[in-house]
Protein backbone atom coordinates (compact mmCIF):
# COMPACT_ATOMS: atom_id res chain seq x y z
CA UNK A 1 0.00 0.00 0.00
CA UNK A 2 1.46 3.38 -1.00
CA UNK A 3 1.90 6.09 1.64
CA UNK A 4 -0.85 8.15 -0.02
CA UNK A 5 -3.28 5.25 0.22
CA UNK A 6 -2.26 4.69 3.84
CA UNK A 7 -2.93 8.32 4.76
CA UNK A 8 -6.24 8.30 2.89
CA UNK A 9 -7.31 5.17 4.77
CA UNK A 10 -6.32 6.69 8.12
CA UNK A 11 -8.33 9.81 7.30
CA UNK A 12 -11.38 7.68 6.60
CA UNK A 13 -10.97 5.73 9.83
CA UNK A 14 -10.61 8.97 11.80
CA UNK A 15 -13.72 10.46 10.14
CA UNK A 16 -15.75 7.30 10.86
CA UNK A 17 -14.66 7.28 14.51
CA UNK A 18 -15.46 10.96 15.00
CA UNK A 19 -18.78 11.02 13.17
CA UNK A 20 -20.34 7.78 14.40
CA UNK A 21 -21.48 7.63 17.99
CA UNK A 22 -19.95 4.49 19.48
CA UNK A 23 -20.61 5.42 23.11
CA UNK A 24 -23.62 6.90 24.85
CA UNK A 25 -22.36 10.39 24.14
CA UNK A 26 -20.54 11.59 21.01
CA UNK A 27 -16.80 12.25 20.85
CA UNK A 28 -13.73 10.04 20.93
CA UNK A 29 -10.92 9.95 23.49
CA UNK A 30 -7.36 10.65 22.38
CA UNK A 31 -6.16 7.19 23.39
CA UNK A 32 -8.87 5.55 21.27
CA UNK A 33 -7.67 7.48 18.23
CA UNK A 34 -4.06 6.63 19.09
CA UNK A 35 -4.95 2.91 19.18
CA UNK A 36 -6.50 3.01 15.71
CA UNK A 37 -4.36 5.62 13.95
CA UNK A 38 -0.96 5.24 15.59
CA UNK A 39 1.11 7.65 17.65
CA UNK A 40 0.98 10.36 14.98
CA UNK A 41 -2.78 10.57 15.29
CA UNK A 42 -2.68 14.34 15.85
CA UNK A 43 -1.18 14.79 12.38
CA UNK A 44 -4.01 12.73 10.88
CA UNK A 45 -6.53 14.87 12.79
CA UNK A 46 -4.89 18.07 11.56
CA UNK A 47 -5.21 16.87 7.98
CA UNK A 48 -8.81 15.79 8.51
CA UNK A 49 -9.60 19.14 10.14
CA UNK A 50 -8.25 20.91 7.09
CA UNK A 51 -10.56 18.88 4.84
CA UNK A 52 -13.55 19.33 7.16
CA UNK A 53 -13.06 23.12 7.23
CA UNK A 54 -14.06 23.22 3.55
CA UNK A 55 -17.40 21.72 4.57
CA UNK A 56 -17.97 24.15 7.46
CA UNK A 57 -16.96 21.60 10.09
CA UNK A 58 -14.05 21.43 12.51
CA UNK A 59 -12.47 19.09 15.04
CA UNK A 60 -12.75 20.41 18.56
CA UNK A 61 -10.50 19.22 21.38
CA UNK A 62 -11.80 19.40 24.93
CA UNK A 63 -9.26 18.67 27.66
CA UNK A 64 -10.30 16.84 30.81
CA UNK A 65 -8.15 19.21 32.84
CA UNK A 66 -7.30 22.54 31.24
CA UNK A 67 -4.16 23.00 33.37
CA UNK A 68 -2.73 19.64 32.31
CA UNK A 69 -3.46 19.41 28.59
CA UNK A 70 -3.20 15.65 28.22
CA UNK A 71 -4.15 14.82 24.62
CA UNK A 72 -4.66 11.10 25.30
CA UNK A 73 -7.33 11.82 27.91
CA UNK A 74 -8.89 14.69 25.92
CA UNK A 75 -12.09 14.19 23.92
CA UNK A 76 -12.34 15.04 20.24
CA UNK A 77 -15.59 16.13 18.59
CA UNK A 78 -16.75 17.44 15.23
CA UNK A 79 -18.61 20.73 15.46
CA UNK A 80 -19.80 23.41 13.06
CA UNK A 81 -17.37 26.24 12.29
CA UNK A 82 -20.10 28.81 11.64
CA UNK A 83 -23.16 29.88 13.58
CA UNK A 84 -26.64 28.65 12.72
CA UNK A 85 -29.40 30.96 11.53
CA UNK A 86 -32.93 31.18 12.89
CA UNK A 87 -34.25 29.30 9.86
CA UNK A 88 -31.71 26.49 10.48
CA UNK A 89 -33.03 26.24 14.00
CA UNK A 90 -36.67 26.11 12.94
CA UNK A 91 -35.95 23.01 10.85
CA UNK A 92 -33.85 21.36 13.59
CA UNK A 93 -34.71 19.12 16.50
CA UNK A 94 -34.71 22.11 18.90
CA UNK A 95 -37.68 24.35 19.67
CA UNK A 96 -37.11 28.09 19.82
CA UNK A 97 -38.54 28.28 23.35
CA UNK A 98 -36.22 25.50 24.48
CA UNK A 99 -33.14 27.26 23.07
CA UNK A 100 -34.23 30.55 24.67
CA UNK A 101 -34.53 28.82 28.05
CA UNK A 102 -31.13 27.19 27.57
CA UNK A 103 -29.57 30.55 26.66
CA UNK A 104 -31.05 32.19 29.76
CA UNK A 105 -29.88 29.41 32.08
CA UNK A 106 -26.35 29.32 30.65
CA UNK A 107 -25.96 33.11 30.63
CA UNK A 108 -26.90 33.21 34.31
CA UNK A 109 -24.51 30.37 35.14
CA UNK A 110 -21.63 32.00 33.23
CA UNK A 111 -22.24 35.43 34.73
CA UNK A 112 -22.16 33.99 38.25
CA UNK A 113 -18.81 32.29 37.99
CA UNK A 114 -19.96 28.94 36.58
CA UNK A 115 -22.45 28.07 39.32
CA UNK A 116 -25.91 29.27 40.32
CA UNK A 117 -28.98 28.00 42.12
CA UNK A 118 -31.89 26.43 40.23
CA UNK A 119 -34.26 28.77 42.07
CA UNK A 120 -32.53 31.89 40.66
CA UNK A 121 -32.62 30.49 37.12
CA UNK A 122 -36.30 29.53 37.41
CA UNK A 123 -37.07 33.01 38.71
CA UNK A 124 -35.79 34.58 35.47
CA UNK A 125 -37.27 31.84 33.28
CA UNK A 126 -40.70 32.36 34.83
CA UNK A 127 -40.76 35.91 33.46
CA UNK A 128 -40.96 34.32 30.00
CA UNK A 129 -42.54 30.86 30.42
CA UNK A 130 -45.07 29.16 32.69
CA UNK A 131 -43.40 27.35 35.60
CA UNK A 132 -44.02 23.84 34.27
CA UNK A 133 -42.46 24.74 30.91
CA UNK A 134 -39.42 26.37 32.56
CA UNK A 135 -38.84 23.23 34.66
CA UNK A 136 -39.28 20.97 31.62
CA UNK A 137 -36.71 22.94 29.60
CA UNK A 138 -34.18 22.81 32.45
CA UNK A 139 -34.70 19.05 32.78
CA UNK A 140 -34.21 18.66 29.03
CA UNK A 141 -31.00 20.74 29.11
CA UNK A 142 -29.71 18.49 31.90
CA UNK A 143 -30.57 15.37 29.87
CA UNK A 144 -28.83 16.72 26.78
CA UNK A 145 -25.68 17.43 28.83
CA UNK A 146 -25.75 21.24 28.68
CA UNK A 147 -26.26 21.68 32.42
CA UNK A 148 -25.36 19.67 35.52
CA UNK A 149 -27.53 19.73 38.63
CA UNK A 150 -26.18 18.87 42.09
CA UNK A 151 -28.20 17.39 44.95
CA UNK A 152 -28.52 20.88 46.46
CA UNK A 153 -30.21 22.18 43.29
CA UNK A 154 -27.14 24.06 42.12
CA UNK A 155 -26.67 24.32 38.36
CA UNK A 156 -23.24 24.16 36.76
CA UNK A 157 -21.96 23.99 33.17
CA UNK A 158 -22.36 20.56 31.52
CA UNK A 159 -19.96 18.71 29.18
CA UNK A 160 -21.88 19.64 26.03
CA UNK A 161 -21.72 23.36 26.84
CA UNK A 162 -17.95 23.14 27.21
CA UNK A 163 -17.76 21.71 23.68
CA UNK A 164 -20.39 23.74 21.88
CA UNK A 165 -20.50 27.16 23.47
CA UNK A 166 -18.22 30.19 23.56
CA UNK A 167 -18.86 31.74 26.97
CA UNK A 168 -17.54 35.22 26.15
CA UNK A 169 -19.36 35.37 22.85
CA UNK A 170 -22.68 34.46 24.50
CA UNK A 171 -22.46 37.11 27.23
CA UNK A 172 -21.30 39.72 24.73
CA UNK A 173 -24.16 38.87 22.36
CA UNK A 174 -26.71 39.05 25.21
CA UNK A 175 -25.45 42.51 26.17
CA UNK A 176 -25.50 43.72 22.58
CA UNK A 177 -28.90 42.23 21.67
CA UNK A 178 -31.76 44.58 20.96
CA UNK A 179 -35.33 43.59 21.89
CA UNK A 180 -37.55 42.90 18.90
CA UNK A 181 -41.26 42.92 18.37
CA UNK A 182 -42.22 39.29 18.90
CA UNK A 183 -43.62 37.83 15.73
CA UNK A 184 -44.71 34.22 16.04
CA UNK A 185 -43.67 31.80 13.32
CA UNK A 186 -46.16 29.33 11.92
CA UNK A 187 -44.36 26.51 13.72
CA UNK A 188 -44.66 28.30 17.08
CA UNK A 189 -48.38 28.94 16.55
CA UNK A 190 -48.90 25.28 15.70
CA UNK A 191 -46.90 24.18 18.75
CA UNK A 192 -48.94 26.44 21.02
CA UNK A 193 -52.17 25.09 19.55
CA UNK A 194 -50.99 21.52 20.20
CA UNK A 195 -50.21 22.33 23.81
Amino acid sequence: MSSEERISRKLMIAATMLFFKSHRSPGVRGWELKNRLGKNYMKVLELLNHKLNDLGLQIKTVFEDESNQDLDRARFYITLTHSLTMSDLVTSDYRIDEVAALAIALSLIFSRGGKTSLRDVLEVLETKFPKWKAETYIERAIRRGYINKTEDDILTVGWRTRVELDQRELLKAILEAQPQQEKKTEKEIQEEKQE
Binding site: M12, R36, V99, G113, I154, E164, Q167, L170, A173, Q180
Partner: protein
Protein backbone atom coordinates in the same frame (compact mmCIF):
# COMPACT_ATOMS: atom_id res chain seq x y z
CA UNK B 1 -21.21 32.21 84.90
CA UNK B 2 -20.44 35.25 82.76
CA UNK B 3 -17.33 33.47 81.41
CA UNK B 4 -19.57 30.57 80.31
CA UNK B 5 -21.88 32.94 78.44
CA UNK B 6 -18.90 34.54 76.67
CA UNK B 7 -17.64 31.04 75.71
CA UNK B 8 -21.05 29.99 74.39
CA UNK B 9 -21.32 33.22 72.44
CA UNK B 10 -17.86 32.72 70.91
CA UNK B 11 -18.62 29.14 69.94
CA UNK B 12 -21.85 30.20 68.25
CA UNK B 13 -19.97 32.94 66.45
CA UNK B 14 -17.39 30.45 65.10
CA UNK B 15 -20.13 28.05 64.01
CA UNK B 16 -21.86 30.93 62.25
CA UNK B 17 -18.65 31.73 60.34
CA UNK B 18 -18.35 28.06 59.31
CA UNK B 19 -21.95 27.96 58.14
CA UNK B 20 -21.55 31.21 56.11
CA UNK B 21 -18.47 29.76 54.38
CA UNK B 22 -20.26 26.44 53.70
CA UNK B 23 -23.24 28.26 52.27
CA UNK B 24 -21.10 30.29 49.87
CA UNK B 25 -19.29 27.15 48.75
CA UNK B 26 -22.44 25.07 48.22
CA UNK B 27 -24.76 27.67 46.71
CA UNK B 28 -22.18 29.33 44.49
CA UNK B 29 -22.71 32.78 46.05
CA UNK B 30 -20.31 35.66 45.57
CA UNK B 31 -17.21 34.70 47.67
CA UNK B 32 -16.33 38.40 48.00
CA UNK B 33 -19.51 38.95 50.03
CA UNK B 34 -17.52 38.04 53.18
CA UNK B 35 -14.65 40.03 54.59
CA UNK B 36 -11.92 37.42 55.02
CA UNK B 37 -9.65 39.83 56.91
CA UNK B 38 -12.35 40.61 59.45
CA UNK B 39 -13.19 36.93 59.91
CA UNK B 40 -9.55 36.11 60.62
CA UNK B 41 -9.32 39.01 63.08
CA UNK B 42 -12.43 37.80 64.94
CA UNK B 43 -11.12 34.26 65.00
CA UNK B 44 -7.79 35.30 66.50
CA UNK B 45 -9.57 37.32 69.17
CA UNK B 46 -11.90 34.45 70.11
CA UNK B 47 -9.05 31.97 70.27
CA UNK B 48 -7.13 34.30 72.58
CA UNK B 49 -10.12 34.40 74.90
CA UNK B 50 -10.64 30.60 74.91
CA UNK B 51 -7.32 28.77 74.84
CA UNK B 52 -8.60 25.16 75.08
CA UNK B 53 -8.56 22.07 72.83
CA UNK B 54 -12.21 22.31 71.76
CA UNK B 55 -11.61 25.79 70.39
CA UNK B 56 -8.39 24.79 68.69
CA UNK B 57 -10.33 22.12 66.77
CA UNK B 58 -13.08 24.55 65.79
CA UNK B 59 -10.43 27.06 64.84
CA UNK B 60 -8.75 24.53 62.52
CA UNK B 61 -12.03 23.84 60.74
CA UNK B 62 -12.81 27.55 60.40
CA UNK B 63 -9.36 28.23 58.95
CA UNK B 64 -9.96 25.43 56.43
CA UNK B 65 -13.32 26.96 55.43
CA UNK B 66 -11.81 30.43 55.07
CA UNK B 67 -9.01 28.96 52.92
CA UNK B 68 -11.71 27.42 50.70
CA UNK B 69 -13.34 30.86 50.37
CA UNK B 70 -10.00 32.34 49.30
CA UNK B 71 -9.65 29.58 46.68
CA UNK B 72 -13.20 30.35 45.49
CA UNK B 73 -12.33 34.04 45.26
CA UNK B 74 -9.42 33.11 43.00
CA UNK B 75 -11.70 30.94 40.81
CA UNK B 76 -14.38 33.65 40.80
CA UNK B 77 -11.87 36.22 39.56
CA UNK B 78 -10.65 33.86 36.81
CA UNK B 79 -14.24 33.18 35.69
CA UNK B 80 -15.06 36.89 35.80
CA UNK B 81 -12.01 37.67 33.69
CA UNK B 82 -13.13 35.00 31.21
CA UNK B 83 -16.60 36.56 31.00
CA UNK B 84 -15.12 40.08 30.58
CA UNK B 85 -16.12 41.10 34.14
CA UNK B 86 -19.77 41.27 33.17
CA UNK B 87 -21.96 41.86 36.18
CA UNK B 88 -24.48 39.09 36.84
CA UNK B 89 -27.19 41.60 37.76
CA UNK B 90 -26.73 43.32 34.42
CA UNK B 91 -27.14 39.99 32.61
CA UNK B 92 -30.25 39.12 34.65
CA UNK B 93 -31.90 42.44 33.84
CA UNK B 94 -30.96 42.17 30.14
CA UNK B 95 -32.45 38.69 29.99
CA UNK B 96 -35.67 39.94 31.58
CA UNK B 97 -35.99 42.82 29.09
CA UNK B 98 -35.11 40.85 25.94
CA UNK B 99 -37.71 38.86 24.01
CA UNK B 100 -37.19 35.14 23.36
CA UNK B 101 -36.23 35.58 19.73
CA UNK B 102 -33.45 38.09 20.50
CA UNK B 103 -32.10 35.78 23.21
CA UNK B 104 -32.06 32.87 20.74
CA UNK B 105 -30.31 35.01 18.12
CA UNK B 106 -27.64 35.95 20.67
CA UNK B 107 -27.24 32.30 21.63
CA UNK B 108 -26.86 31.22 18.01
CA UNK B 109 -23.87 33.56 17.62
CA UNK B 110 -21.96 31.60 20.27
CA UNK B 111 -23.27 28.11 19.52
CA UNK B 112 -21.38 25.53 17.43
CA UNK B 113 -23.34 22.28 17.85
CA UNK B 114 -21.68 18.86 17.73
CA UNK B 115 -22.21 16.89 14.53
CA UNK B 116 -22.63 13.15 15.00
CA UNK B 117 -24.44 10.26 13.35
CA UNK B 118 -26.58 7.76 15.20
CA UNK B 119 -27.58 4.46 13.65
CA UNK B 120 -30.36 2.00 14.30
CA UNK B 121 -30.42 -1.53 12.94
CA UNK B 122 -33.63 -3.58 12.43
CA UNK B 123 -32.37 -5.88 15.19
CA UNK B 124 -32.17 -2.97 17.68
CA UNK B 125 -35.61 -1.79 16.55
CA UNK B 126 -36.92 -5.26 17.30
CA UNK B 127 -35.43 -5.16 20.82
CA UNK B 128 -36.99 -1.71 21.29
CA UNK B 129 -40.45 -2.95 20.31
CA UNK B 130 -40.13 -5.99 22.55
CA UNK B 131 -39.10 -3.77 25.45
CA UNK B 132 -42.00 -1.38 24.76
CA UNK B 133 -44.53 -4.20 24.68
CA UNK B 134 -43.20 -5.61 27.94
CA UNK B 135 -43.74 -2.32 29.82
CA UNK B 136 -46.53 -2.59 32.42
CA UNK B 137 -49.75 -0.82 31.40
CA UNK B 138 -50.78 2.39 33.06
CA UNK B 139 -53.51 2.29 35.69
CA UNK B 140 -56.15 3.16 33.11
CA UNK B 141 -55.93 2.95 29.39
CA UNK B 142 -53.92 5.77 27.81
CA UNK B 143 -56.21 8.70 27.14
CA UNK B 144 -53.72 10.92 25.34
CA UNK B 145 -50.54 10.72 23.28
CA UNK B 146 -49.68 8.12 20.66
CA UNK B 147 -51.38 4.78 21.04
CA UNK B 148 -50.78 1.56 19.07
CA UNK B 149 -53.86 0.03 17.53
CA UNK B 150 -54.01 -3.79 17.45
CA UNK B 151 -53.66 -3.66 13.68
CA UNK B 152 -50.51 -1.46 13.87
CA UNK B 153 -49.01 -3.75 16.47
CA UNK B 154 -49.70 -6.77 14.33
CA UNK B 155 -48.22 -5.12 11.23
CA UNK B 156 -45.08 -3.93 13.00
CA UNK B 157 -44.55 -7.39 14.46
CA UNK B 158 -44.98 -9.02 11.04
CA UNK B 159 -42.62 -6.51 9.43
CA UNK B 160 -39.91 -6.91 12.07
CA UNK B 161 -40.30 -10.69 12.03
CA UNK B 162 -39.86 -10.67 8.25
CA UNK B 163 -36.77 -8.47 8.55
CA UNK B 164 -35.33 -10.77 11.20
CA UNK B 165 -35.94 -13.86 9.09
CA UNK B 166 -34.32 -12.24 6.06
CA UNK B 167 -31.22 -11.28 8.05
CA UNK B 168 -31.01 -14.73 9.63
CA UNK B 169 -31.23 -16.35 6.21
CA UNK B 170 -28.47 -14.11 4.88
CA UNK B 171 -26.35 -14.82 7.97
CA UNK B 172 -26.79 -18.56 7.43
CA UNK B 173 -25.74 -18.36 3.77
CA UNK B 174 -22.74 -16.13 4.48
CA UNK B 175 -21.64 -18.38 7.37
CA UNK B 176 -21.77 -21.50 5.15
CA UNK B 177 -19.83 -19.68 2.42
CA UNK B 178 -17.18 -18.61 4.92
CA UNK B 179 -16.83 -22.17 6.31
CA UNK B 180 -16.48 -23.48 2.76
CA UNK B 181 -13.81 -20.92 1.84
CA UNK B 182 -11.88 -21.32 5.08
CA UNK B 183 -11.54 -25.09 4.67
CA UNK B 184 -7.89 -26.22 4.91
CA UNK B 185 -6.81 -22.59 5.24
CA UNK B 186 -5.85 -20.41 8.17
CA UNK B 187 -8.82 -18.11 7.77
CA UNK B 188 -9.96 -15.86 4.94
CA UNK B 189 -8.87 -12.30 4.24
CA UNK B 190 -11.64 -9.88 5.30
CA UNK B 191 -11.48 -7.69 2.18
CA UNK B 192 -11.30 -10.69 -0.16
CA UNK B 193 -14.36 -12.16 1.50
CA UNK B 194 -16.65 -9.15 1.51
CA UNK B 195 -15.58 -7.61 -1.82
CA UNK B 196 -18.03 -7.99 -4.70
CA UNK B 197 -18.24 -6.07 -7.99
CA UNK B 198 -21.28 -4.15 -6.77
CA UNK B 199 -20.64 -1.71 -3.91
CA UNK B 200 -24.14 -2.38 -2.51
CA UNK B 201 -23.43 -6.07 -2.28
CA UNK B 202 -20.07 -5.37 -0.60
CA UNK B 203 -21.73 -3.18 2.03
CA UNK B 204 -24.46 -5.76 2.54
CA UNK B 205 -21.94 -8.57 3.11
CA UNK B 206 -19.93 -6.42 5.56
CA UNK B 207 -23.15 -5.56 7.42
CA UNK B 208 -24.31 -9.19 7.72
CA UNK B 209 -20.78 -10.31 8.63
CA UNK B 210 -20.75 -7.84 11.53
CA UNK B 211 -23.72 -9.73 13.03
CA UNK B 212 -21.91 -13.08 12.63
CA UNK B 213 -18.87 -11.60 14.42
CA UNK B 214 -20.94 -10.04 17.22
CA UNK B 215 -22.92 -13.26 17.73
CA UNK B 216 -19.71 -15.29 18.10
CA UNK B 217 -19.87 -17.37 14.88
CA UNK B 218 -16.76 -15.75 13.41
CA UNK B 219 -13.49 -14.52 14.93
CA UNK B 220 -11.50 -11.60 13.54
CA UNK B 221 -7.71 -11.68 13.77
CA UNK B 222 -5.91 -8.41 13.18
CA UNK B 223 -2.28 -8.21 12.17
CA UNK B 224 -1.22 -4.58 12.56
CA UNK B 225 2.23 -5.24 11.03
CA UNK B 226 0.79 -6.47 7.73
CA UNK B 227 -2.34 -4.32 8.12
CA UNK B 228 -4.35 -7.49 7.63
CA UNK B 229 -7.73 -8.69 8.92
CA UNK B 230 -8.47 -12.44 8.82
CA UNK B 231 -11.81 -14.13 9.40
CA UNK B 232 -11.81 -17.47 11.22
CA UNK B 233 -15.19 -19.23 11.42
CA UNK B 234 -16.09 -21.12 14.62
CA UNK B 235 -17.79 -24.50 14.27
CA UNK B 236 -20.55 -23.28 16.54
CA UNK B 237 -21.60 -20.11 18.32
CA UNK B 238 -19.06 -19.02 20.94
CA UNK B 239 -20.46 -16.79 23.69
CA UNK B 240 -18.63 -13.44 23.94
CA UNK B 241 -17.22 -12.58 27.36
CA UNK B 242 -15.22 -9.45 26.65
CA UNK B 243 -16.44 -7.49 23.68
CA UNK B 244 -14.72 -4.61 21.96
CA UNK B 245 -15.72 -2.48 18.98
CA UNK B 246 -13.75 -2.58 15.74
CA UNK B 247 -14.18 0.25 13.22
CA UNK B 248 -13.63 -0.76 9.60
CA UNK B 249 -13.97 1.96 7.02
CA UNK B 250 -15.33 0.27 3.89
CA UNK B 251 -14.61 3.24 1.68
CA UNK B 252 -10.98 3.10 2.81
CA UNK B 253 -10.53 -0.59 2.16
CA UNK B 254 -13.00 -1.59 -0.54
CA UNK B 255 -11.30 -2.55 -3.75
Amino acid sequence: MSNKIVKKYSREEIERIISICENIEKRGLDPFSVDVKELLFKLRKMLGENPDLEYYLLDAETIYRIATIIALQHKWLTEKAKSLFIDSQLISSRLTILDKKSIVQAFLKAWRPIISISQLTPQRLHYGLEHFLRLPPRRDERKYGWKFTDRELELSKIYLEKEREEIEEKMKNLYSELIERAKEKDGVDYWEFISKPSINETYDRAYILSFLISEGYVEVKKNPLKNELRLIPNNQKVPRRNTTSLVISLAGGAR
